[in-house]
């Protein structure tokens, strides 16, 4: 029987890490993810895990130590937010190029500057092309479930890529919700043993890792990373199937909430999906055919599947919790619209930048967006596609 609990998102992440019992955790505190290494170090010091906890002096060293540990032959995990991830940035690329399936819990927060400790997705968007698998989580349950599935995906021989599980800082990381935990032994069995093919501490087969890789080979090595990201799509679905067998909880690239017969739809990630579901329900009660596509797997980007799922609607709004400052629109919007274009989906699609620096996203904000979409359906005129939601005039 699963265990019913009440936990914050950070507690849920820390408990998933405890059940995974990695060989090394290296982390540096930063709000709002600080609690994760805090909780985890109590597990270490009370003997609940076998992990060596490396209390590094910076996030750059946190990711460096994770790379060293995973290259040595162990499972390495970390947690961070915002500037912590920015400071890791150099090592983020190195981790994926070395094909090390490190798993990170990223508690999303606005990247400075100016300084702000609250939630948006500017940290995650800064590493979207770094070769990491990126899973987003609506609530504490999903943050937990995604972490339990993480190693099976990242360590799969067709994948071998690092993976980050995102959740919204404070909104879910510090909110206590009901959660269903899986029994320790079931998680242990599901995650399985880590058996890397090549690793530094294998005395029978010494290996040199991290070469100088010049014009003759780097291109091909980058293509291998790209191929692994493509192959990750099937692995993500396969692991989700196994997870469903164990828990009954169903996961895919995205969740379609009342999308099947929807005429107007919103695409978003993380906790805003919860608020959007509430608004969709209210509109449905009024007879308005609103729907939601909640993206879980941002990298690899399920372009074809998204385009297909949105092909029958009459207007779409994509929410970006980070502005790309590019005079064209947010990152998710650009990805969704290009996916629609190449898949011959001509549905009008607009973008809303929202929630920047922790600006609260209210149900009536989202309702106003659905109203805008209805207007577009009526007139066929999208006007300015690059819009803002919740911005003071």
């Amino acid at each position: 029987m699963s265990i019913r609990e009440r936990l914050s998102g950070n507690e849920a992440a820390a408990i998933a890490m405890k059940q995974i019992n990695p060989d090394v955790v290296a982390a540096f505190p930063i709000t709002p993810s600080t609690e994760i290494p805090q909780y985890f170090s109590t597990f270490v010091n009370n003997g609940a895990v076998d992990t060596e906890f490396v209390a590094v002096e910076s996030e750059h060293s946190a990711m460096s130590a994770c790379v060293g540990a995973q290259a040595a032959g162990g499972r390495a995990m970390t947690a961070t937010s915002a500037n912590g991830l920015s400071y890791m940035w150099e090592m983020i690329y190195i981790a994926s190029s070395m094909r090390l399936p490190i798993v990170m819990s990223l508690v999303n927060r606005a990247v400075s500057g100016p300084l702000n400790i609250h939630n948006d997705h500017s940290d995650a968007m800064g590493v979207r092309d770094a070769g990491w698998i990126m899973l987003f989580s609506e609530n504490n349950q999903e943050a937990y479930d995604n972490l339990v599935m993480a190693h099976r995906i990242a360590e799969h021989k067709d994948v071998l890529l690092p993976l980050m599980v995102c959740q919204d800082g404070f909104i879910t990381s510090h909110s206590i919700e009901n959660i269903e935990l899986i029994e320790d032994d079931k998680v242990k069995e599901f995650v399985g043993k880590y058996t890397p093919e090549h690793y530094l501490l294998n005395q029978k087969e010494p290996i040199a890792m991290g070469p100088l890789d010049l014009q003759a080979y780097l291109f091909e090595h980058k293509k291998q990373q790209a191929d692994a990201m493509c192959k990750a799509k099937q692995v993500i679905l396969d692991v989700a199937k196994d997870f469903e067998k164990m828990t009954g909880r169903k996961y895919s690239f995205f969740e379609e909430y009342k999308l099947e017969d929807a005429e107007i739809a919103i695409v978003c990630m993380n906790s805003t999906a919860g608020t959007t579901k509430f608004v969709v329900d209210e509109l449905r009660a009024k007879g308005i055919k609103a729907g939601l596509l909640k993206l879980r797997v941002f990298r690899p980007f399920p372009a074809e599947e998204i385009a297909k799922a949105l092909s029958h609607v009459k207007a779409v709004a994509v929410f970006d919790k980070a502005d790309s400052l590019n005079a064209a629109g947010g990152a998710l919007y650009t990805d969704v619209t290009s996916a629609m274009y190449v898949n011959k989906n001509q549905v009008p699609c607009i973008n809303y930048i929202y929630g920047i620096g922790g600006r609260d996203t209210k149900a009536n904000d989202i309702e106003a967006v659905f109203n805008d979409l209805q207007e577009i359906v009526k007139t066929g005129d999208i006007q300015n596609p690059y819009r803002y939601m919740g911005l003071r005039g």
Partner: protein, 264 residues
């Protein structure tokens, strides 16, 4: 080191080797060492296996951009030896000054100009910064006289449990401006002038390994190197005097530390 030993698909290393970035050899090795401790504890490695971890960095990656990562790893007490090859500037990128560059040296970012005559700041004393971390073993050495001092210190560092640090002066023919065949001569002059004293600090106790019977004047070390050429122009005698004063003061400080730390 990476660029000369490990160009894909070839490697000069016969034992396991990892390179990740410039400033983080100590942090990367922290992770590898922590993983070793963890796997050993869990019985995931053969019981009779024993692995030592050695990091190599230049003065740029150690004194400067990697100082934080080094300090963190040493303070945390990972069982590793960190070896710094100090050639006194960023030689790989083309002789830019580092905090290990001696005062007045002509580098590509501290050129000996008409107004500012080279680097105007003194050299950082990294070995002493490491001593401040209360490590079981810190040493400063150089390849000299059949490498005896270097071998002995390497052996002590490797066989001492815990975080150890060895600083090795590595004269760069191109960056310092001397003929390659004079390497051993330059090494000897660095030691005989007390520019680069040979010493070790074992559990906080200083031991000066070599005390020249007659300390040579610093000109002997400076003169054969093009990077100090401008110091020998008429009117620049003050630069040599100042350099000598600093060498003398640091040498005396070292002798004093040896005396103080060995008091019963």
């Amino acid at each position: 080191m990476e660029v000369s030993t490990f160009i894909y698909p070839y490697t000069a290393w016969t034992d396991s080797f990892v390179h990740t970035a410039f400033e983080n050899a100590a942090a990367t090795l922290s992770g590898a060492e922590a993983c070793y401790q963890s796997m050993k504890k869990q019985g995931k490695l053969p019981e009779d296996s024993h692995t030592k971890f050695i990091a190599f960095g230049g003065d740029g990656g150690t004194y400067d951009i990697g100082l934080q990562s080094l300090s963190g790893a040493m303070e945390r007490g990972h069982d590793m030896v960190y070896v710094c090859y100090d050639n006194g500037a960023y030689m790989n990128t083309g002789i830019q000054r580092s905090s290990a560059t001696p005062k007045f040296a002509d580098t590509t970012t501290t050129p000996a100009g008409t107004i500012i005559p080279g680097k105007m700041q003194s050299r950082k004393d990294l070995a002493k910064i490491m001593v401040g971390h209360h490590l079981p073993y810190v040493a400063q050495t150089i390849a000299l006289n059949n490498f005896k001092d270097l071998y002995e210190k390497a052996e002590k560092a490797i066989y001492t449990e815990g975080p150890c640090f060895v600083n090795v002066l590595a004269p760069c023919p191109r960056g310092w401006g001397y003929a390659t065949e004079d390497l051993m001569k330059i090494n000897k002059l660095a030691v005989e002038t007390c520019y680069w004293p040979l010493y070790e600090v074992i559990d906080g106790k200083y031991k000066v390994n070599y005390k020249p019977a007659k300390k040579l004047p610093i000109e002997e070390f400076l003169k054969p190197q093009k990077r100090f050429k401008h110091m020998f122009k008429a009117g620049n005698e003050w630069m040599i005097e100042e350099f000598q004063k600093e060498v003398d003061a640091r040498w005396q400080e070292l002798l004093d530390l040896e005396e103080i730390t060995n008091k019963e």
